[in-house]
Amino acid sequence: MADLITYRDAVAEGIAREMRRDASVVCLGEDIAEAGGVFKTTTGLLKEFGPERVWDTPISEQAIAGAAMGAAMTGMRPVAEIMFSDFLACCWDYLANEIPKVRYMTGGQVTVPLVVRTANGGGLGFGAQHSQATENWALTVPGLKIAAPATPADVIGMLAAAIRSDDPVVFFEHKALLATKGPPPPPGHVVELGRAAVVREGGDITLVALASTVPLALKAADILAGEGIEAEVVDLRCLVPLDAATVLASLRKTSRLVTVEENPYQGGWGATVVSIVADEGFGLLDAPVRRVAGECVPLPFADALEQQVVPTVDKVVTEVRGLAAY
């Protein structure tokens, strides 16, 4: 068996594979070249592809996002890094007003094939301004595709799909997953955006998870299996396009649903999944739906506090037990 690869190394590997394949793929961001990224997710790119294709930028989030957009509009496929996803707010105009609207408001004249990569989520004790799970911000914007892989193989496969996409993709790399390992995918591996994965089969309850909450849901499923409750775990992988069909198909088997998300309950993606199920799968349900989500607070610093406000294995297990008994 091949050596395992970390999620962190999978990011650089995924970008490198596309840069080798397509000369129009270029990278820009703070500290991504010489330093290899603050999370070492772009290590080796400068050495292989040179400073023309791997650009260190100043601390200028608006210019990074805006320049990536201009380059994408004119024939390149830029991969821009915004260091921490909290900082997306510094260039939110580009994510909310420019990149996702230009195709529409020009009547289809302009296409923006770019990827904005960013380190998302809590778990590393970085405090409120470097820990937020912000994928729900992007979810409120029509015109952005949203990818959030949970495994190294998916990082590579979904980066390939994101970079090849003619639409803008916000690519959330979860900080708590960076050191996790998995088998590297074969050459040419592409995971089409908008295809969820059933990562554990079970007939009693459906757990829908994304990125960091996927391993968490799997752990909860292990514990529950010991109690005779078989949970099916769906890794959503993408929020846009959203694979509602896989969720509904799972519910056809299980008739019970829990969503597990790190972004705050208020406006979180679980609400969208649950509303689709209420709309299109009400008859499939034998119990109320439950959402395990972040509390509606900024992320606190101390582990003991953070654990109170983010989804945990215990919280998932408790919700599932309650629903199984319903």
Binding site: P58, A63, G66, Q109
Partner: protein, 325 residues
């Protein structure tokens, strides 16, 4: 500039002036919805700059961008149809006055968030260099944009990367209603800041089409040669208010009078006379411009509204709007 070239510039400016007047009248008749930001008075900047550019150069403009769209190959008919929400509009009536775009001719859009498009021009210039095309990117913006963070981020990034991009500020002295001088610590909001970013900052009479074309041509050659970006601050004045039916009562009468006497069309007419072009020849150009815009108004009025189904197209590259698989 020889007489033939100047007459051509004059006629282009005359078309823009008449198109803007038509837009104003159509707005007052209720045929143009939303708002318009007219550029009457600022024509020399769009026409002079465009004449100095290559056809494949990229232009990014603001919500006050009718003149740039027209100077960069959009027809008065396409523009007016867009303003009048017709299916034949430049953007299929999804853009409107503030978003006139004609990508096929390098008019890469008009953006209504002040200053937002400056980094896009930087990115387009970067892309041109990576592709080795010697294309230039130009961002036109108002004086108000110079106090936006993206302005400074863009100048710095363009400077450190020595990119072929020109930043052309149309300083018409006012933001919406506030004089730029009241809220800016330096007298030349764009040109004075350029050197702080290691970029040359020049000032030009933005109402003199010959001066604008010469300045943009020179800075463009420099940028294409690899000598990096430049800032050009073009002094000008808008004849109408900021938008809609704003009568611009906040402007001192004496100031308005002084600037109306410095009209770009009058200036060009004076230069034509000096070059020996007779009044009759100029009148013929005026007549052609009048006829073009009159036909455009009639055609736009006669065009059908967009198919309502179009509302759910063009979000994604596949043409649709589906966010679920």
């Amino acid at each position: 500039m020889d007489a033939g070239a100047l007459l051509d510039r004059y006629e282009r400016m005359a078309v823009i002036r008449r198109t803007e007047k038509a837009a104003h009248d159509l707005f007052l008749q209720g045929l143009v919805k939303g708002t318009t930001h007219l550029a009457a008075g600022q024509e020399a900047i769009a026409v002079g700059a465009s004449a100095a550019l290559r056809p494949d150069d990229y232009v990014f403009a603001t919500y006050r961008g009718h003149h740039h769209a027209l100077a960069r190959g959009a027809t008065p008919e396409e523009c007016l149809a867009e303003l009048m929400s017709r299916a034949t509009g430049l953007c299929g009536a999804k853009g409107g006055s503030m978003h006139l775009t004609k990508a096929a001719t390098g008019m890469l859009g008009s953006y209504a968030i002040v200053g937002a498009h400056l980094p896009m021009a930087v990115g387009a210039a970067w892309s041109a260099r990576l592709r080795g095309t010697e294309q230039l990117a130009v961002a036109f913006f108002g004086d108000g944009a110079t106090n936006i963070g993206a302005f400074h981020e863009s100048l710095n990034l363009a400077a450190v990367w020595r990119l072929p991009v020109l930043f052309v500020c149309e300083n018409n002295l006012y933001m919406e209603y506030t004089p730029i001088a009241d809220v800016t610590a330096v007298p030349r909001p764009a040109a004075d800041r350029a050197p702080a970013h290691g970029i040359p900052g020049e000032v030009v009479d933005g109402n003199d089409v010959v001066a604008v074309e010469e300045a943009v041509g020179r800075l463009a050659r420099r940028a294409r040669a690899g000598d990096g970006p430049a800032v050009l601050e073009a002094e000008t004045y808008r004849h109408f208010g900021h938008s809609r039916a704003d009568p611009a009562a906040y402007r001192p009468a004496e100031e308005v009078e002084r600037w109306l006497k410095h009209d770009p069309l009058d200036l060009a007419r004076g230069r034509l006379a000096e070059l020996g072009v007779g009044a009759e020849t100029v009148a013929e150009a005026d007549e052609r411009a009048r006829a073009v815009v009159e036909r455009a108004v009639a055609a736009a009025k006669a065009a059908p509204p967009p198919d309502p189904r179009e509302a759910l197209t063009d979000v994604w590259a596949d043409g649709g709007a589906a966010w679920r698989t």
